[in-house]
Amino acid sequence: MLSNLLHINTLWVMASTMILGIAAGGIGCLAYWKRQNLMSDALSHAALPGVVVAFLIIQEKNLLLLVIGAALSALLGAFFIQWFTSASRITEDTAMGMTLSVFYGVGVMLLAIANRSPGGNQSGLNNFIYGQAAAMVRSDVITMVVLAAIVIFIIFIAFKEWKLFLFDPDFAKGIGLSIRGMNVLYTIVLVTTIVIGIQAVGVILMAAMLIIPAVSARYWTHSFKMMILLSSVIGGLSGAFGTWVSSTGSGLPTGPFIVLTSAAVFTISLFFGKEHGIVIRYIQFKMQQRSSRLDHQQVMTGKGGRSQ
């Protein structure tokens, strides 16, 4: 196990899933307050056909090009959702559910075709479904780290703009922030994070990397900045730890271990979180109850205990 940890390639891969987790945790907070958690799930599933089509065209596994294909098909999915919702009576969640399953279905079908093509079987395309961080080569890692770093930079440079955009877009527009611009930027960073993550985590579980750290962080803080920071930290640690665990067995998928790690953090937060964690809330309630009971008794005895 230790020798495995020290293996230089494992370290590289761990570093890349960590930075991916940081980006996903940050973006997840934006998605959380945009009330668009299902959207990230729809977009990650919608990325699959793009990956396979890109592979069928270029006939080799170049992550940057596959990622571009993924981004295009995720954006197409986003466009469909938007269009269905505004041009018909279909509600947004229905449109998301439909887009998610149809795109994923097409992706799996194309994958079957690609796997029959010469060289397709060894391409590792299947990894895009459940995620296999160990399948990443040096250039993949670099692509991922560079893109994730850009995403993190965009989140952190515009803290107060994101806050205003998410809290009160009408007011933001009134004081000159372009809401359309922010929406475009948001979609770009969201899609970028999703598509760079799908090889390591898989399209099925990618959304969990965005959602779980954000809801976990919500239990610890009342400040937007702290929530983003915490969510990023949780995402980063889950990414690194999940990758390490999955690398201890051969061929274990990475995605599930990352998700399980962050789910464990979520469980702890749910119970022990400083803000509205179940246990903390219970203790606070009991303490209140006891102190008001004491007050009550004092009042009673002060009155001479007649009402007893």
Partner: protein, 254 residues
């Protein structure tokens, strides 16, 4: 002579097939406080949103100091209806008020200590300084309204639009808010307020705009705030009940 701050010409707006504003035209002079009154669904909020470019207009023209909204927006403050934002959002009162300064601070810059002080002063004016670091979700409705107004004050605008700032607030909050509005007026600022309580209109406002899809009457309160105008604006299902000098409107619909 007083100069006009707002010119609205022939403005109309709709939601899908529903036309909710038709041929709205009026002018507002500098240093006045105008009440926009009309029944629920009359299009009061829509009028404000359309004037501020938050809702697309079908036809017509709106200008501020003779310029487009875009050129004038730095001088315009907007207090939306309280229900328009997510009060669960993780932030505190002081932070929300600081948002009023973002336009001045500039994009991608962090608010300075001085900015925080300015925001704190605005909170003080609304009697909310002890709640500065309170989570906004833990404020009462009236306190949230005060925070919104403090944000508008921090903006230090020339022209204010407020959508029902007095809705659901108690008497002391109402007093506090009206004092601030009067102060704004005496400083030469112009204020438009969507207002629901007809009884207090003559006391609080020097101008009234009756709106129900279109403008029914507009002018100085003394002149246009009449039984007839109220009755026509609020439509046939409303009955006028005069009780001395009290203004009471009763709905006769069930």
């Amino acid at each position: 002579m007083l100069s006009s701050v707002i010119h609205v010409d022939d403005l109309s707006a709709s939601y899908q097939k529903n036309k909710v504003l038709n041929d709205v035209s009026f002018e507002v002079k500098k240093g006045t406080i105008t009440a926009i009154v009309g029944p629920n669904g009359a299009g009061k909020s829509t009028l404000i949103k359309t004037m501020l470019g938050l809702h697309p207009k079908l036809t017509g023209n709106v200008s501020f100091w003779g310029n487009s909204f875009k050129a004038a927006k730095k001088k315009i403050g907007y207090v939306p209806q309280r229900g328009s934002v997510d009060w669960d959002f993780p932030t505190d009162a002081l932070d929300v008020v600081t948002m009023g300064l973002y336009g001045k601070i500039g994009w991608f810059r962090i608010p300075s200590k001085k900015d925080k002080e300015k925001a704190m002063n605005a909170l003080k004016k609304m009697g909310m300084e002890s709640y500065a670091h309170r989570q906004i979700s833990q404020l009462s409705g009236g306190q949230q309204q005060r925070v919104f107004l403090a944000r508008a004050l921090a903006q230090d605008a020339e022209l204010y639009f407020m959508d029902e700032p007095l809705a659901g607030v108690d008497a002391s909050t109402e007093k506090a808010i009206m004092t601030i509005l009067k102060e704004l007026k005496s400083n030469g600022k112009t204020v438009l307020v969507v207002h629901h309580d007809l009884q207090t209109v003559p006391e609080y406002f020097d101008h009234v705009l009756f709106l129900n899809k279109t403008v029914y009457a507009h002018g100085e309160t003394e002149e246009v705030f009449t039984k007839d105008n109220i009755a026509t604006t609020y439509g046939g299902d409303m009955q006028w009940v005069g009780k001395g000098d009290q203004y009471v409107i009763q709905s006769t619909s069930h």
